[in-house]
Each structure stands twice: as C-alpha cells, then as structure tokens.
C-alpha cells in the first residue's frame, strides 16, 4: 500500500519570524532552540560569574567586610544555582544536544519540536524569577543544597522562589531528556545502527536516562520541602518529628547524578572534537560506549558519598566508598582512549583543541581528588572544606566549562558560517587556563589546612592563599573579554567558513553553514563511519558527498 500526498506547490505560509527575531520566538527549529539555549546560558554564566567575583572579593580579607553576611549567603546560593541549573546543564545538554543530535541521527528535527520549545522557554522566566528574588525580600540563603532545617528557618519568600525556579528548571530538563531519548532511539535515519552513531549521541542517551530517572526525585523532595516551609508540615523538620537525613538522601539521589548530567555530555563533545582536530579515528569506540553506560549505572548508586560525615552508619559509608571509587574505572578508560586518539595524529593546535586538552588535564586532577574524596577516612577531614570546592570546580569548570568553550570554537563556523579568530582564541585559552588553575589549585591546600567552605570570614593565616586565589579569579573574569570580542567581531567580519572548514566527517558538516531549516537540501547523508579519518579514501569520499 502506498500513500501519495499531493505535492504542495504554493509557498508555505510564514508562521514564524525570520532573521534574528526568530531567536526570540517560540521557534520549533532545533537549531534555533539550540542557539537560544547557548546564548541564554551564556548570559546567566556572566551573572553567575559576577557573583563568583563578589565571593572572591569578600574573601580577599579574613573579615566579613565587603557585603552583609546574609547577602553573602544569598550570593553563594545564587552562584551555585545559576551555574548549575542555568548555565552548564542547559548548555551541555540543551544547546549542543538540540543543535547536534538531529544531525547525528540523520533527522530533520527533534522527535517533539513543541515540547522542545516549551523546555527552552521554561528557562528564562525561572532564571529571572530566581534572580529577582534577591530584590524582593532577599534570595535563598541556604546554599544550592538547601539542607533543612536551615532552608526552613531562613526567610521563606526567597527559599520558596528558589524551589519554584528549580522545579521549573528540572521540568525543562526532564522534557529535554525525554526528547533526546525518543530522538536517538526512534528518529535514526534508516540504515544507521546505534553502534554507528557519533559518541555524543551515546553520551546524551546516557545523560537523558539519568535525567529522567533522577530529576523527578528532586522535584518530589523540593515539593515536600516547600510544604514544610509554607504549610508547616514536618517531613524534614526535626521539631515536628521530621528527619533531616532523609532530605539529604533524596537530594543527593538527584544531585550526584547531576554531576554526570554536567560532565557526560562534555565527554561526548570532546569525543567529537578530538578526532577531527587530530585527524584520527576516535580510539576504542566500543569501550567508550560501555564506559558511558557504566558511568550511568554507577552514577545512580553513589549519592551517599556526600554524607560521610552526616548521619550514616559505617556499613553504608563503606558501600558508597567502593561504588564511588569504581566510577574511576570507566572514566579512566575514556581518558586513556582520548590520549590514544591524540597519539600519532596530525594535531592542529587551535583553540578548540587546546580547550579540549585543557579539559583533559584539569579533569584528571579533579578525578584524582574525587577518588581520594570517595575514601571515607580521607573525606572525614576535608568534607565541606575548600578542598571540595577545588575538586568540584576542577570537574565542572575545568571539565564542563572548558569543553563548552572548546565546542563554541569548534561549532561556531557551523552556527554562523564564519570563522573565529584563532589567535584570539589561543590567547583566551592561555588566560583562562592560568587563571583557573591559579584560582582553584591553592584551594586544595586551604581545605586540608582548615578552611571550611561557604564562609564569609576565616582564620587570618589563610589570607595570602585566598588572595592568590582571588587574583586567579580576576584573570578568569578578564579572560571573558577576548572571547566576547572575538565572538562579536567574527559574527560581523569573520572569514567565510564554507560548509566544512575542519574537513570533518560527521553529518552536521555535510551541509551548508549555517544549515538550511530542513538540515540538508536533499536526503540526509548516511554516515556509517563518523570517525573514518586516515582511511586512504576519506578525503575523496568527502569530496563526493559534497
């Protein structure tokens, strides 16, 4: 049986604005939504970064003298929440996921375009709501973890707005996760097998499974917490018979996987960038896939390592030590495979490559301190200290944010049809790398020697190291300037990129830059070997495909 549709020759009605206005519209185009995520996330990054700057200014002196103590706690709460929920999670998942996944599976859009637009448009209002809570009675002051009873006893308005905002962002994240799973599993071009997909698809599949399994737990927990605040129920309020430890279990059941939600997509992006710029196939595709899935499974059973000094019995501490330490095995495989991908390549030392290699170095350090922190006896000394702050920022800034920059340098030509200035990009990398390490490496020492985290005042013996750290933070802030200049200048006057400036083999490059609304003029190309570099005919095939 065949179904024939009458060809529609009349020009389609213009339903959506074109030009730059489409980026402010409820567009259903996955590429527009991807860029909406990216730009929106970057704006929030600038806000979150300014808050980090305020924290580092406060810590220049051991006294609480730059801002009132309540404000300091609001600032650190907003900094954490914005960076996690409004910058890294939406950008590594929403921005690059939406832009790239339909290309990689050979589809013309995501499985549920409307849901996709809804998922994005939940973000700006909840972000703005979160930030404006600062001006109405003050924002939440209990840290991004919102542990009760502190979150129940601090001013309620800010905390409730925080909960609402995180619930909306979690909803957005779940919508995105469902969409990615459906797109990757069901919208693959005929003839394309799962094991032929680019690695980022696997990373997004794993991440989305984590999102869909764990985010609802956070939502339920926060709803109970809001009942405690508004209706004076006693789920987590010990004076009404509640239990504060239960909150911690439920919270970390989401929030540990949240770390993988922030880094797994980054692992996927690096796996795309390294082969292209070192002109070599991705080393060990199959082990990469299995290690992603291993991280997904293990990532769900390690949450209590955030609670080693809390009310946990010894056997539980031990179980979570072993489970956590074992995550190092699949993660280690990925890092060895990336180094093996570099080995014997023809590496272009451009900004995308440098940021990816900076990521490897930073993340290895963060991973090592992570395995150390997983050991209960080690953790009881450094838990909740600056050692953890350093570890965490090596993972999410040295890891995810470096990869975001790397990806922007890599895909900017596809987004805009113009090249970024490589020299400015390399300058940006050097300043960022030095500033980042200067800011966070000394914090390991601070934690080991007795400085707890989330403090506005500290023992004067730590002043010098804190000042060094603040200088690093200043460098990090300044490093944004060459980047922004590069972006604006290249959008207007950058060199024409052409369709495929990197001579890449993955499907998003086998179309024009920027791509047409339908992604490809004709049928979607069938790319069975997205990493087929170094094969004698790889360049010729590519010519033919053009």
């Amino acid at each position: 049986m065949t179904i024939s549709l009458k060809p529609n020759n009349s020009p389609p009605e213009k339903l959506q604005p074109s030009g730059w206005l489409k980026y402010l519209s409820f567009s259903l185009d996955h590429k527009v939504i991807g860029l909406q995520y990216l730009v929106c996330g970057f704006l929030f990054y600038l806000i979150g970064g300014s808050l980090a700057g305020a924290i580092r200014v406060e810590l220049v002196s051991p006294l609480s003298d730059f801002m009132p103590r309540e404000v300091y706690n609001q600032v650190l709460t907003l900094h954490g929440t914005i960076m996690i929920f409004l910058w890294i999670v939406p950008v590594v998942n929403g921005a690059f996921g939406n832009y790239l996944i339909p290309f990689y599976v050979g589809a013309r859009d995501m499985a549920f375009p409307r849901l996709n637009a809804v998922a994005f448009w939940l973000i700006p209002p909840s972000g703005l709501m979160l930030i404006t809570s600062y001006f109405i009675n003050g924002a939440a002051q209990s840290g991004w973890t919102a542990y009760p009873p502190l979150s129940i006893t601090t001013p309620a308005a800010g905390q409730i707005i925080w909960i609402l905002s995180v619930l909306l962002l979690g909803g957005s994240s779940i919508f995105g996760g469902i969409n990615f799973i459906a797109t990757i599993l069901k919208l693959r071009r005929p003839g394309l097998k799962l094991m032929q997909l680019p690695m980022y698809c696997w990373a997004m599949l794993g991440t989305s499974i984590l999102v869909v399994l764990s985010t609802p737990v956070l939502a339920g927990t926060l709803i109970l917490l809001s009942f405690d605040i508004v209706a004076h129920t006693g789920f987590f309020n010990p004076s009404l018979g509640g239990n504060v430890i239960v909150y911690q279990h439920l919270f970390w059941f989401y929030s540990h996987p949240a770390v993988y939600i922030m880094v797994l997509p980054a692992f996927g992006l690096v796996s795309e960038i390294l082969p292209i710029h070192s002109r070599k196939p991705l080393f060990g595709y199959t082990t990469m896939v299995f290690s992603i899935m291993g991280i997904v499974v293990l990532g769900l059973i390690v949450w209590a390592h955030h609670m080693f000094t809390s009310g946990t019995p010894p056997w539980m501490r031990l179980f979570f030590t072993i489970a956590t330490a074992f995550i190092a095995v699949p993660t280690g495989i990925k890092f060895f495979n990336w180094v093996a991908t570099l080995w014997g390549g023809k590496i272009s030392l451009n900004a995308a490559m440098l940021f990816s290699c900076g990521f490897i170095i930073n993340f290895v350090l963060g991973g090592i301190t992570g395995v150390a922190l997983a050991q209960v006896p080690f953790d009881v000394h450094v838990h909740d200290t600056y050692f953890v702050v350093a570890h965490f920022h090596y993972i999410v800034y040295g890891g995810s944010v470096f990869v975001i920059f790397s990806s922007i340098y890599h895909w900017f030509p596809k987004f805009t049809g113009r090249m970024l200035n490589e020299n400015l990009g390399r300058f940006h990398f050097i300043i960022t790398f030095i500033g980042f390490n200067l800011c966070f490496a000394p914090q390991h020492w601070l934690g080991l020697n007795g400085m707890p985290r989330r403090v506005a005042e500290y023992d004067p013996q730590f002043q010098l190291i804190n000042q060094i750290s603040s200088v690093g933070a200043l460098l990090m802030a300044l490093s944004t300037l060459p980047f922004l200049w590069n972006i604006f200048q290249s959008i207007l006057y950058g060199d024409e990129a052409g369709d495929n400036p990197w001579k890449a083999l993955t499907p998003e490059w086998l179309t024009s830059s920027p791509p047409p609304v339908e992604n490809w003029e004709g049928e979607a190309p069938l790319v069975l070997e997205p990493y087929g570099y170094g094969q004698r005919d790889s360049n010729e095939t590519q010519e033919q495909k053009k």
């Binding site: 103590r69 706690n73 209990s142 542990y147 009873p149 502190l150 006893t153 601090t154 010990p238 004076s239 504060v244 002109r279 070599k280 196939p281 080393f283 060990g284 199959t286 082990t287 000094t309 009310g311 946990t312 501490r317 031990l318 330490a325 074992f326 095995v329 280690g332 495989i333 060895f336 180094v339 093996a340 570099l342 014997g344 390549g345 590496i347 272009s348 030392l349 290699c357 490897i360 170095i361 350090l365 090592i368 150390a372 050991q375 209960v376 006896p377 080690f378 009881v380 909740d384 200290t385 080991l448 020697n449 007795g450 707890p452 403090v455 506005a456 005042e457 500290y458 023992d459 094969q535």
Partner: protein, 270 residues
C-alpha cells in the same frame, strides 16, 4: 626500534614513580597532627598523594608530549594513522585502574578500621539508655574495640550541644558547662553531639576528624588527643549568616592540668 621504545617507556615510568614518591614525601600540605588517628590519616593521605602525583604527572606529560610531537607542521596535509582501537591496550587500561581502585578501597577500609570507624557505635546496647529507641550514628573511634566502647570507664564522656552560632560543651562529670573544649592528652574522649536548631559540623583539622551535629539525631565522635596545645574547632556545615564566625577552641592539657581545670570549674565535688 621496538626495543628503544620499550626502554624509553620503562625509564619514563620509573622516573614518574620515583618523582611521585619524592613529591609526596617532600611536599607536606597537612597541619600538625594531634590525635591518635591523625598519623593513620596522614599515612592514607601520603599513599593517595603518591598515586595521584604519578597519575597526574603521567597523564599531563602524555597530553603535552602528544601535542608537541604530533602537531601539524606548517604546510602539512592529510590525516593521522587510521587506528580505531586496540583491544589488549584497552583491557590493560581497564584492568590497571580497576586494580589501583580496588587496592585503594581495601587500604582505606583498613585505615578506617584502624581509626575505629567500623566498630559499632550503638549507644542503646548499654543498660543505662533503657528502652529509648535511640540510634546514635557517626563518628570515628580511635583505637581497638575493647578500649573505646562508649560506656567504658576509660573514656571521658562529654556532651556537645551546637546552636547558631556556638558550641556548648557539657561535662557530666562535675557538671561543667564550657564554650571551649578542655581535654587531657592521651585519653579517649567520647563526644555525644546534638544540635538545637540547624545542622552544624564539629571539625578539628589537627585531629583530622569531622562529624555533623544534627538536630533530632545524636551523633558520636570518639578521639584521643596526643599533643598538648590549642587547636581550632570549626563549624563546617553552612548554618546561617555567622557560619564563618562559628569557631571555638579545643585545649588539650596534660592530665594534671586538666584535672585542676576540672576541679576548679566543677559545680559538684567529684
């Protein structure tokens, strides 16, 4: 050629190993150790630091070496070698981290056990608690099981009440209430802790010990100070605006001085 590369690999890994051990033994990043489990902690720290140094320096040099050695020279075109994987190599670098992690895990279990972390801390085993269904969790002991059961007469029981933003210590023996913790050298202290409002944490960096002080859930921390002196007690859990200022001192005295302090301050005759 393969012989040369084998020799090079062997030498560089030897240099790495020796370098890592050298750094770990010569860079001391920890404060003074002043409790019985602190030296045990420092031993674990050193082992982790050695492994960490070797891994970090190794990976970083591999990345930097690759970037320099395999960089695209000007005018060069074409691709690198078409190498899609190597099963034996991949098995090798799955197995090695697995073994390292297993070793670290077992070793830290041993350390935790030596710190007394695995011994049962259930308070309701002794009769004095009666039928109260009280679960006491947490904490790390400081010696073999026989010396540190919580109602053992050899340990000094102290009750800690934390509140925004102070630690209050109560000595049942002598009914003393103090804002600072006075303890004698060489005697096991058993701190029973509970919070009046939000979650706090009791941390003495020189003891390498930390335990959250939780409302509605008593926790216990056992330790034995080994060095006389004055060490900071730091609250390590965000507890409100003055969290950073929530600090106190633990004053570790010789037994004699401690007994004097106890006598001078006690409200009851001992």
């Amino acid at each position: 050629m393969p012989k040369l590369s084998a020799i090079l690999t062997l030498t560089s890994s030897l240099i790495l190993g020796v370098g890592g051990v050298w750094i770990a033994y010569n860079v001391d990043m920890l404060p003074v150790s002043a409790s019985m489990n602190a030296p045990v902690y420092d031993e674990l720290y050193r082992v982790l630091f050695i492994i960490g140094c070797i891994l970090f320096i190794g990976m970083t040099s591999l990345v930097v070496y690759s970037l320099v050695q395999f960089r695209r020279k000007p005018g060069e075109t074409g691709d690198g070698i078409n190498l899609e994987g190597n099963i034996s190599l991949e098995i090798f670098w799955t197995a090695v981290p697995a073994i390292v992690v297993l070793f670290v895990g077992l070793y830290s279990y041993d350390i935790y056990d030596r710190m007394g972390g695995m011994q049962p801390l259930m308070h309701d085993h002794n009769g004095q608690m009666g039928n109260q269904e009280e679960r006491v969790w947490g904490g790390i002991g400081s010696g073999p099981i026989e010396t540190s059961s919580s109602n053992n007469s050899s340990s000094l029981p102290i009750e800690l009440t934390a509140m925004q933003f102070a630690f209050i210590f109560h000595y049942p023996k002598g009914n003393i209430i103090s804002g600072e913790l006075h303890v004698p050298v060489g005697k096991e202290v058993s701190l029973k802790m509970e919070s009046k409002d939000v979650i706090h944490a009791f941390w003495v960096p020189q003891f390498r010990l930390k335990q959250d002080v939780i409302p509605g859930q008593p926790t216990i921390l056992n330790f034995t100070p080994t060095k006389a002196g004055n060490f900071p007690i730091v609250c390590a859990e965000l507890c409100g605006p003055y969290h950073g200022g929530m600090r106190s001192n633990v004053i570790v005295d010789e037994q004699e001085d401690f007994d004097n302090w106890l006598r001078e301050n006690s409200k009851e005759t001992i």
